[in-house]
């Protein structure tokens, strides 16, 4: 059974971003990370789940019960906010004990569970301290211990790793994963950071403009983005406009490419092609999705290369890229550090279709994918 079912959730757009028709399920022990740019509705989603934001439609089911009309405290979830506040009038111990006290846990159990939670965040000896005496990182760890101490069935984390320096972020992530592994709640975390999502998630949901564009394993989302929006969000920065003819052949300017999994293309005759056979599409690929071929190399048939000119070369820790201008727009591709072209050089760009994605321009959805099934099923199980 799913610990959390969200069905057709709508949150009105107002001061904060809203949500439109968001549906997903999370099982106990599963980690769903929802990614999105700022303003995509991530915080509204967690607010609606926790009970601080009223939805205008849809259903939220937690642990088998419809909780839409329940106040925050009567939902089987705990929300760790983006900048967690510790209660300044309570010691660290009492801060962590708070969720137990309000759940009427009494006696030795409280001490044992609080001590265990503090040990899990490596703050065993901090119980008597006042929040004011903690460093920022320590306070975040206390807040994490406090969020998990009551072992909520559903744990909601709002950017728990944001604004931490890299080493702190690493240890905090490990603590979250360890504490999650200890009792395996359904975990919903939101972040704008894709790398973070990939490290934490069993599944990733991509929120764009208040709608859930795709939900799937990190591999599915990163390797097969379901929509143009997702492709853009995961950082595939090259986008060329073209069309698919007869459902098999991708045409970008002079270039003809046969789409994988389709019949091999026949020579272009220009006959028998009605407007219905021409589907406007976007060809999207990352810096790895194309390679440079020196100008003048003979092209095979059909023409699979785009003429381009090197505008500049960028060096970065993860590799060297070249910025190119083409007739169809700017393109940035990875280049071999041994063969860095000089700026101004004329080159040819060869698209690697296995690394590229084709989206219908009218709908933004992946070309050839059957709607609703491509990596976007509500639930894997």
């Amino acid at each position: 059974m799913s610990a959390l079912v969200v069905d057709a959730l709508d949150v009105p757009f107002g001061d904060a971003a809203g949500l439109t028709d968001v549906s997903f399920r999370v099982r106990s022990g599963e980690r769903l990370v929802v990614v999105g740019a700022s303003g995509a509705g991530k915080t509204s989603l967690l607010g609606a789940l926790a009970g601080f934001v009223s939805p205008s439609g849809g259903r939220i089911e937690m642990d088998g019960h419809d909780v839409a009309s329940r106040p925050p405290e009567r939902r089987p979830c705990v929300l760790l906010t983006q900048t967690p506040l510790l209660f300044p009038h309570l010691t660290v111990f009492e801060n962590v004990a708070f969720p137990l006290r309000v759940r009427r846990v009494v006696g030795r159990d409280v001490r044992a569970r609080v001590d265990a939670a503090l040990a899990a965040v490596r703050l065993e000896s901090f119980g008597d301290r006042r929040p004011a005496t903690l460093s920022g990182g320590q306070a975040r760890r206390v807040a994490l211990a406090r969020a998990m101490v009551s072992r909520p069935k559903i744990l909601l984390l709002d950017e728990p790793l944001a604004a931490l320096d890299p080493s702190l972020r690493e240890s905090m992530r490990r603590m979250i994963l360890q504490m999650h592994a200890d009792y395996r709640p359904a975990l919903v975390m939101v972040t704008h950071d894709l790398a973070e999502a990939g490290r934490v998630a069993d599944r990733i949901g991509v929120l764009v403009g208040g709608g859930l564009e795709q939900i799937g394993t990190p591999e599915e989302v990163f390797r097969r983005p379901a929509t143009l929006q997702v492709a853009r969000f995961i950082g595939l920065r090259n986008e060329l406009v073209g069309e698919v003819r007869s459902g098999t052949q991708l045409v970008v300017g002079e270039v003809r490419l046969s789409l994988p999994g389709c019949r091999s293309p026949r020579p272009e005759t220009g006959m028998g092609e009605g407007p219905r056979d021409r589907l406007p599409v976007s060809l999207v690929f990352g810096v790895q999705g194309a390679r440079l071929v020196p100008d003048g190399c003979p092209a095979s048939y059909p023409v699979d290369r785009i003429p381009a000119r090197v505008e500049s070369v960028l060096h970065a820790p993860e590799g060297t890229t070249a910025r190119l201008t083409t007739d169809h727009g700017p393109v940035e591709v990875r280049v071999d550090t041994a063969e860095v072209p000089a700026a101004g050089t004329a080159v040819q760009l060869q698209i690697r279709l296995d690394e590229a994605h084709v989206f219908e321009r009218s709908s933004g959805s992946r070309f050839g994918a059957r709607p609703g099934l491509d990596g976007g099923g509500l639930h894997r199980a």
Partner: protein
């Protein structure tokens, strides 16, 4: 980095501000010891101080003003908290409630006392309304609320005067700390009662504590309200201080210096208690992660 000259400017500023109090207490001490003032003998002696401080009139007046200060501080803090909690929202009713509560803020204490006299006095507004309603048949039948030994009239007038200030502080504590902490508590599973008793209330009283101590200190040393509304027996310490100071007799006048020092002492003790509470239980410094 603090440059040496910046530090010395800071110390100089502190000295400028403290100087009048140091000079005032210094002179009062000298006069109380018989080293300065009209009756100075040139010989330091604690005799006068001991005589004044063991006088039942003096400690009666001291206890009385402490009672008045404590009662009006507690009462005005309770009312301020009730108002802040009732009218804390963003609606127009809330804004109206807060505005009404804070309105008397700049009214001088003297005016609060005059208002108290006119409302609560034996021929005041309440007595007149009671007369017209047939509850009493004349001013004499009206229970004494001013010049009364219990100090009810003075406590009420001072409460009326101090509620706006404490409301302002309580509202700002709720707005700056309370709202976010309450959301955190609810997100952790606390119900309304738990939110109030485990978060709102402890945060409010801790946040209100410095302002309440300031009110207590001010009220305990305040002359103008006591002189209008306080009884002549027991004679409130500030009024007693004044009467001894303006007395024609030189000995009486010297007593006033001891009483002034007693007034300073009460203020100092209130601040010290506040600091002790802060060190002991911790008030609201820091806490955001």
């Amino acid at each position: 980095m603090t440059r040496p000259s910046e530090k010395s400017f800071g110390i100089a500023a502190a000295l400028v501000l403290a100087a009048p109090v140091v000079v005032g207490t210094g002179y009062a001490t000298a006069a109380a010891l018989g080293l300065a003032g009209a009756g100075a003998t040139g010989q330091a002696s604690l005799d006068r101080a001991v005589a004044v401080l063991t006088d039942p009139v003096v400690w009666g007046g001291t206890l009385w003003i402490l009672w008045v200060a404590a009662a009006s501080t507690v009462l005005s803090a309770a009312i301020a908290i009730a108002i802040a909690v009732t009218f804390r929202g963003a609606g127009r009713l809330d804004a109206l409630g807060r505005t009404l509560a804070v309105l008397p803020l700049p009214v001088p204490h003297l005016v609060a006392a005059v208002g108290g006299l006119l409302v609560l006095g034996q021929s005041g507004l309440i007595a007149r309304v009671a007369f017209h309603l047939g509850f009493i048949d004349g001013p004499a039948a009206m229970p004494a609320l001013v010049y009364d030994p219990a100090g009810i009239g003075l406590v009420l007038a001072l409460t009326w005067k101090e509620v706006p200030f404490l409301t302002l502080v309580a509202v700002s504590v709720l707005a700056t700390r309370g709202d976010a902490l309450e959301r955190t508590a609810r997100g952790l599973g606390a119900g309304r009662r738990d939110v109030f008793w485990r978060v709102t209330w402890p945060v409010l009283w801790r946040g209100l504590m410095p302002a309440a101590v300031a009110v207590f200190t001010f009220v305990a040393g305040s002359y103008e309200a006591a002189v209008i509304l306080a009884p002549s027996d027991p004679l409130a310490l500030p009024v007693l201080t004044w009467e001894r100071f303006v007395d024609a007799g030189l000995g009486q006048r010297a007593d006033a210096y001891v009483l002034a020092l007693l007034g300073f002492g009460i203020a100092l003790a209130a601040v010290a208690v506040h600091e002790w509470v802060r060190a002991r239980i911790g008030l609201l410094d820091g806490g955001s992660a």
